[in-house]
Every structure is written in structure tokens, then in C-alpha cells.
């Protein structure tokens, strides 16, 4: 049923720290590696070694230059499904293939019911859904539903692959429906934001904006390094003359 279920209050999702993300693409690779054998497998690659590489990815990292009166900065920006509270991708689905789980709020696709009409990808403002032209169905982030409840994994590994892979701890996983959870407190502390709040999809995932420029940082760059050894020959002579 593509009508949205009444929720249990549990809202599993990600909190992504734009301050510490270094854009290393480890989460992208880990996501692809896990999920091409996971719940929505395969994550088809088309012409992977050719000139027109294409394929399905659940997580993509952009880089932006954010310029304000305080100056400019590079912001690495991971983009994946936000597991919205009112996901239009689910309600527009004509077959019931798209659904939102009542128990934890994860938005999933039943591949066996998907007719590949692509309407859900039109309805998602965030570009979270990607069509698999090889299989003919839509695919999307599962929040690693096959990891987070997986008893075969060690408890510390029961997090989405992208979270496990992040070397700078820029990705956090938890229950955003519980105001006392670590992720909810992190969002409150750092002023986490929704993407495109004006569209009213009410995303579960939150983004932590980059921290403000610090006053404690050195205001002037360190002086340039001196050459270790004096230059010899004619140029060395010119250098010595001009230095006097």
C-alpha cells in the first residue's frame, strides 16, 4: 500500500556533518560494495570501463564552493535518500512497490512489484532514486536494512556501510524520532537542518552545517619557508647582492 503508514515514532536515519566531511568518497565506495550484493542487488554498472560510464549508486558526494561575506569554503556534500516522513516517491507509486516501513520509517522498494515507470524519481526532489536500465526497476538507498538488523554481524558493525566506512566520523546513524538519542542531541547541539524544507517532504536525515570561521585560527598565513641551502653560481651572487 503506498498510502503512508501511521508511524511508530521510530525514525532511523543519518546525520551528516558537512564540517568534517573531506569528500574522500569512502562512503560512496563502501555503499556500492555492500549494496551490490545486498537487499537491492545488483547495483548495475553500464559500460564500466568504456567512454560512457553509467550505473546505479545510492550515495553520491558533490563538492560546492560556499561563498559568504565571511569568505569562501569548499563543502563536500554527500547526497542519498533522506527517508522522508512524507515521501511523495511512495504515494505516487502506482503499484505499491514503494513503501515506508511503519516500524522504523525506512523507505524501500519491492523490486518484484516495480514496473519501472520512473514517476517516483520525478517525485523525489533530492535525486535519491536511480533507475536500473538493465533490470528495468528503480533502486534506492535501503539504509542498509540488511546490516542494521543483521545478527550475523558484530554489534558495532550493525550500522549502514557508509557510516562504518567514514574515516572522519562525518556520518552518524541512529533514531531521530527519539529526542534523547545521540544523533538527535547532535542535531540539536549543532543546529542540524533539513534539505529543501520549503517542499514539505520532512526529511528524516539531517545535515550539520559547517562550523563558523574560528577566531582562534591564525589570521595570517605562516611565512614562506627559506631555502635550506644558499644558491650558488651567478644567481646566488645576485641573491646575495640584492639581500644586502
Amino acid at each position: 500500500m503506498t498510502c503512508l503508514p501511521s508511524q511508530s515514532g521510530k525514525k532511523l536515519g543519518l546525520v551528516i556533518d558537512l564540517d568534517t566531511c573531506v569528500g574522500c568518497q569512502a562512503c560512496v565506495t563502501a555503499c556500492k560494495e555492500w549494496n551490490t550484493g545486498g537487499h537491492m542487488a545488483p547495483l548495475t554498472d553500464i559500460d564500466p570501463y568504456g567512454g560512457h560510464v553509467d550505473g546505479v549508486w545510492f550515495n553520491r558526494v558533490h563538492a560546492y564552493e560556499h561563498t559568504t561575506e565571511m569568505g569562501g569554503r569548499t563543502v563536500n556534500f554527500p547526497r542519498s535518500c533522506l527517508h522522508c516522513e512524507t515521501p511523495a516517491c511512495v504515494t505516487v507509486c502506482p503499484t505499491g512497490a514503494s513503501y515506508k516501513r511503519a516500524s522504523d520509517g525506512i523507505v524501500l522498494i519491492d523490486e518484484d512489484k516495480c514496473i519501472g515507470c520512473k514517476l517516483c524519481s520525478w517525485a523525489c526532489p533530492y535525486g535519491a532514486r536511480e533507475f536500473d536500465t538493465d533490470v528495468g526497476v528503480m533502486k534506492k538507498c535501503t539504509l542498509c536494512v540488511d546490516r542494521i538488523y543483521n545478527d550475523n554481524l558484530a554489534e558495532e558493525d550493525r550500522v549502514p556501510a557508509c557510516v562504518a566506512a567514514c574515516p572522519t566520523s562525518a556520518r552518524h546513524f541512529g533514531d531521530l524520532g527519539d529526542p534523547l538519542s545521540a544523533v538527535s542531541q547532535l542535531v540539536a547541539e549543532r543546529g542540524g537542518v533539513d534539505l529543501m524544507p520549503e517542499l514539505g517532504y520532512r526529511p528524516t536525515n539531517k545535515y550539520l552545517p559547517p562550523r563558523a570561521h574560528s577566531k582562534r585560527a591564525a589570521s595570517v598565513a605562516a611565512p614562506a619557508l627559506e631555502p635550506v641551502r644558499a644558491e650558488g653560481g651567478f644567481l646566488g651572487w645576485v641573491d646575495r647582492m640584492l639581500s644586502n
Binding site: T2, V56, V90, P94, T95, I115, P125, Y126, P197
Partner: protein
């Protein structure tokens, strides 16, 4: 948005087909048109032929067309599902109306009622088609008050011009029908121009700032996550050059509105069969023009995901 030909043809053909079906059903119900065998056969054949061709074309857009039957299940939430259900239900009164008219030679009694029901079904189906687009918030050009009326107006307009061609062909044309075609085409033209003006001045509140959550200043895309175009850019990042857009709008206005208006105005003064010839020509040119219009409807629509790519 990528203008897939299967969907462009689907909405144009079913729009014209349901428009014609609605008018045939209504005029049949009120017994304004004679229950002539050939008129019924050609008219209902044309209407249902356009609808069936359009619906079949739409399945060409699907990744797994063999599962299309599943699309009838989620009518509680999905406009696409509602469209599927409405289109199939409409076939029942439309089929009865066609059988009564063509094979029983009558459009009174239950056949007339079936005609009315088919007309209602046709209008409902066109509404559901319009709502598929009008309900999509990420595409501001579609999520507007112009979209749903546009689908209804163009369906009535093309259906009416087709009906005129049909009636003129059987030497049953009337000045009233011609005048209706002219007025509807003028109305359609004004609606399209108004829609374009609205879209050109649209101030979209969703920006690269709100898309990334980075408040204030400017957000410029430095680097894409991938070097080649992916599904998102192929499907949602379709762009046409501004100069082609302007040229295509001129072609739309010429083919869909100006030329049919001119031809139909001349028909007023022509005897049969010249009147029939020009009427058919007007309908064919208008259909071609509406294909261009529908292509532009997709090509000029901008999806919010393009903001992530700095487009």
C-alpha cells in the same frame, strides 16, 4: 525533464482521443448527431484508436511493461494509478456506446446514457493525467495552477477540431461547431501563452542554498560526483538551448493554433468536399503542433535535482 517520445505521444493522443470521445458521447446522449453507421464507426474508431494507441505507447516508457497490471492497485494515493483505473473503466461505457451506435444503430435510451457516462469517464481520465504532473512539487513549471486546466483545455480543443473534421467529412458540418473550434483554439492559444509567461517569471523558492542546507551567500558546484551523465542528469537534467526553446514555441503557436485557426476560418466559406479536406488538414496540423507543445512541456520543466549539479 527528458521528453520521452512514448509519453509525449501518449498524453497528446489520449488527450485528443478522450476529447473526441467526450464530445461524441455528449452529442450522442443529447442526440444532436445522427446514429449513422459510418459516422459511428469512423468517429468511435478514431477516438478509441487514439486512446488505445496512446495507452500502448505509454507502456513503452516502462522498465517492466509485463507488470503493468499492478498499476491499477494504488488508486488511493497515486494519480498514475487513478489514471490507469479511470482509463480502463471508461472503456466500459465507451464500448457500450460504440456498440449501440454502430451495430444497433441507436443513440437513445441506454446507449445515450452510456454516451454520457463515457464523456464523464473521459473528462475524469484527462484530469488524472493532468494531476500526475500538477502534483509533482519538485518541478515548479508543472506544480502550478496552469497544468490541470491546460490538459482539459487542450483535450477539448483537439477533440473538438477532430470532431469538426469528422462531421465535415460526412458533410454534417455546422457553423456552430466551426465557431466552437475557433473559440477553443483561441482559448487554448491564450492559455499556452499565459502559461509560458507565468513559467518565465517564476520565482522558485528552492535554490542551491536550500538544496544543500548552506545558508546565505552563494553555492557553486565545484565538482560532480561522477564524470559522465548518470540517470538523474539524463532523465531530469534535460536542457534545451534557449534559442531552440524560443523557436519551438513559435512552431507550437504556428502549428497548434495559428494555422488551424486560419484553415478553419476559411472552411466557413467553402463547400463540401473542400471544407472536409481543410478541416482534416487543420486537425492533423494541430495534432502535430500539440506534439511539439507536449515535447516543450517536458523539455522546459526544471527538476530540483538539477540544483545539485549547478544547472
Amino acid at each position: 525533464m527528458h521528453p520521452a517520445f512514448s509519453v509525449v505521444f501518449f498524453t497528446t493522443a489520449t488527450g485528443a482521443g478522450y476529447g473526441l470521445l467526450a464530445l461524441l458521447g455528449m452529442f450522442g446522449g443529447f442526440q444532436i448527431i445522427p446514429p449513422d453507421f459510418w459516422l459511428g464507426l469512423v468517429g468511435m474508431g478514431l477516438a478509441l484508436g487514439l486512446i488505445v494507441a496512446g495507452l500502448l505507447s505509454s507502456t513503452g516508457h516502462l522498465g517492466r511493461p509485463e507488470r503493468a497490471w499492478r498499476a491499477f492497485s494504488q488508486w488511493r494515493s497515486s494519480w498514475l494509478s487513478r489514471e490507469g483505473v479511470a482509463s480502463v473503466i471508461t472503456f466500459i461505457p465507451a464500448g457500450l456506446f460504440g456498440i449501440g451506435w454502430v451495430f444497433l444503430g441507436r443513440i437513445d435510451g441506454w446507449v445515450g446514457i452510456a454516451g454520457f457516462l463515457a464523456a464523464i469517464g473521459a473528462v475524469v481520465t484527462v484530469c488524472t493525467t493532468g494531476m500526475i504532473y500538477a502534483s509533482l512539487k519538485p518541478i515548479a513549471q508543472w506544480h502550478s495552477h496552469f497544468t490541470l486546466p491546460g490538459y482539459l483545455i487542450f483535450s477539448t480543443m483537439t477533440g473538438s477540431v477532430l470532431l469538426n473534421a469528422l462531421l465535415q467529412g460526412f458533410a454534417l458540418g455546422s457553423k456552430v461547431q466551426l465557431a466552437a473550434c475557433l473559440l477553443l483554439t483561441l482559448f487554448g492559444w491564450s492559455w499556452k501563452v499565459a502559461t509560458w509567461r507565468y513559467n518565465d517569471r517564476l520565482e522558485i523558492s528552492t535554490t542551491a542554498n536550500t538544496a544543500t542546507g548552506l545558508a546565505g551567500g552563494t553555492v557553486r558546484s565545484l565538482e560532480w560526483p561522477h564524470t559522465e551523465e548518470n540517470y538523474l542528469l539524463k532523465e531530469m537534467g534535460f536542457r534545451i538551448a534557449r534559442k531552440h526553446g524560443a523557436r519551438l514555441r513559435q512552431i507550437t503557436q504556428l502549428l497548434a493554433f495559428a494555422l488551424p485557426l486560419g484553415l478553419l476560418a476559411i472552411v466557413f466559406a467553402l463547400p463540401w468536399p473542400l471544407a472536409a479536406l481543410l478541416s482534416v488538414l487543420a486537425a492533423a496540423i494541430q495534432f502535430a503542433g500539440m506534439l511539439v507543445e507536449r515535447w516543450l512541456f517536458f523539455a522546459e520543466a526544471k527538476h530540483t535535482v538539477t540544483l545539485y549539479y549547478g544547472r
